[in-house]
Symmetry: C2
Subunit: 342 residues, 2 copies
DNA sequence: CCCAACTGCGCAATCGTTTACTCAGTTGTC
DNA sequence: GACAACTGAGTAAACGATTGCGCAGTTGGG
């Protein structure tokens, strides 16, 4: 039979059979010696290991994956409407992905960033169906809550960054957004603010809860509802939104809760260009606790979601679920990260 | 034979054989119908496609990969000393990875972020040897130049973000760092600066070339060499470095070239806390052109490396190399991105 | 001395696809 | 009417590993 089209490039095209032959043992023994599993004599093991090192032989991962039915790879998805991957440049996702990568690596797993277009109801099924990953980490429920929920019924090894609704089936890790909203508002009130604004995107459960928290804290303090300054997610658009809002306001607030640190950054920029002093005339608090927030001018006070810790928890839960154990959702306590903008 | 350990979780555990049986055809025909390759009648093709949709059957990607010897996956590596993945939270890498993901997705490739510890000379060989990826994108040559160079001799499908040295074997895409340094310095000089400082990390070829460019431009203008303010890469450490430097300076410069936008951000913060007005008393220019730089206060003037474009080029070159064609290095022309900090 | 237990290793099945080759039936051409 | 060309579909051999089971040789206990 004529050889079929082969890999185009190879550093060393040796397979286990050839290697075993060179080593003078069977493929079974070679495999066991290299993986350190099964009964192989000490001597044979070291001899084979040395030969592998010398020849630069490494077992093919794909074949191993097929046989063992494990890929040691975890998929990371960011389901955000049509242009999902565009948003990978968003600092929040970036940061999250970085932290997840750190945590996954510690468990020996790789991280696969894939194309997913939430165009129909079955995008998640299609992604899982190909069997390329051992588990799934989803960053944000976005508007795909019901899809995630329905998949979670049959597919266990999945952990989602996001909120927990009553009766929710899928495993989620996320900060208590309502509580965070309360904390942000309370902080501004304690600083003497009497009229707050909430700036941020409208879509997404998280943002709704944060706003609700702000509202609740204001009500509890006997203060008026917040002015709402809706904005896009994408920084440039958000900046334009916010600058326009600020120009149109009848009465200026004396404190602003931003739905996210990136929104707060856009807000700081718009305020600076209006000549509005922060925190003198206006106090601004963000939400997320991204590392970069500490490097804005003025350094941003923010509600810290403890993303690094959150990523670690997500991965831990996922490992448990991959192992077949149960693992319940975890709610992270938000913390006030006090800096100069308030 | 007792079934061996199987995948723990499966949404639908059907294989081609079972599916074909249900469809009343051979596995060959089913496979061909689903992949749209080979001679299958129009009628059979649509019938099988419909059945697959109905049953939610999808061919196993791992098996396909093994058979076709292609994974449709590209590895992305960031070789940076021991704590490689720690640096994934760095805005530069984040941004780059986001852009690369965008570009790869357009070609139908996935992106694999993996553990690589450049602990010995063979880390790259080991990574390639397992055959999990069709190609490799390396972000930054760092101190692994010779390793990359030696691997490039045998392994073709690899493209590196970084500089081009004379006689270099591996394919690199990167901006002309010397030229960028010249541009940055010339801009500050045109703005009236007479004593410049260069702030940035010491390691890395890129930074050395940028500094050399600054030096050359100053020399050409008959101005003194730049004051050097070395700093760490990591933002918090960089901030401390720079604040300390500024406190110790005998004579203050009137313009600063930062080796990277993140360094410029730290610098802006340190200057703001000294009460130094930018751009009034001190002009600051960054390097990279990260989206976030436009959202600093004041918005950062910077040398734009055109990372989005660069990522697209890297992926294009890689696709060509995967296809077995030749593809030479590309040098990107840096551009001045004029904003408020100068 | 016998039988069981253990050790070290090899045989061959298996994971789930793709695809070269084969083959029967149909059509077209001289 | 013979023969070539084409169509549509099936058979079975890969791809490169892991691993259940079997087997020969050794050890040990009763």
């Amino acid at each position: 039979m004529v050889p079929i089209a082969r890999r185009h490039h190879e550093t060393d095209d040796m397979n286990l059979k050839q290697f075993a032959e060179l080593a003078g043992v069977s493929t079974a023994t070679a495999s066991r010696a290299l993986s350190g599993t099964g009964r192989v004599s000490e001597e044979t093991t070291t001899r084979i290991a040395a030969l592998a090192e010398k020849l630069g032989y490494q077992p093919n991962a794909i074949a191993r994956n097929l046989r063992t039915q494990r890929t040691m790879t975890v998929g990371v998805l960011v389901p955000m409407g049509h242009d999902a991957l565009q948003h990978l440049s968003d600092p929040f996702f970036n940061t999250m992905i970085g932290f997840l990568a750190d945590a996954l690596v510690e468990h020996g797993y790789d991280l696969l960033l894939s194309r997913v277009l939430p165009d129909d109801e079955r995008w998640l099924d299609r992604y899982i169906g190909t069997g390329r990953v051992d588990g799934l980490l989803v960053i944000g429920q976005s508007d795909q809550y019901h899809v995630i929920e329905s998949v979670a019924r049959r597919y266990r090894p999945m952990v989602v960054w996001g909120g927990q609704m009553p009766g929710q089936r899928h495993c989620a890790v996320g900060s208590d957004n309502f509580r965070g909203g309360v904390m942000a508002a309370e902080h501004l009130i304690a600083r003497g603010c009497r009229l707050l604004a909430y700036a941020g995107p409208r879509q997404g459960v998280e943002f709704g809860e944060r706003l609700a928290g702000v509202r609740a804290a204001l009500a509890a303090a006997g203060l008026p509802d917040p002015i709402e300054l809706p904005s896009h997610f994408e920084p440039d658009a958000a900046y334009r939104d916010l600058a326009a809002h600020l120009g149109n306001l009848a009465t200026m607030p004396d404190g602003i809760v931003a739905g996210a640190d990136v929104t707060a950054a856009s807000m700081l920029k718009a305020l600076a260009e209006m000549g509005c002093d922060v925190p003198g005339t206006m106090r601004v608090i963000g939400y997320d606790g991204l590392p970069i927030a500490g490097h804005l001018v003025p350094a941003l006070t923010t509600i810290d979601q403890q993303l690094r810790e959150g990523a670690r928890i997500m991965v831990d839960l996922l490992m448990r679920r991959i192992a077949g154990e149960e693992a319940a959702s975890v709610r992270i306590e938000p913390r006030l990260l006090l800096r100069q903008s308030t």
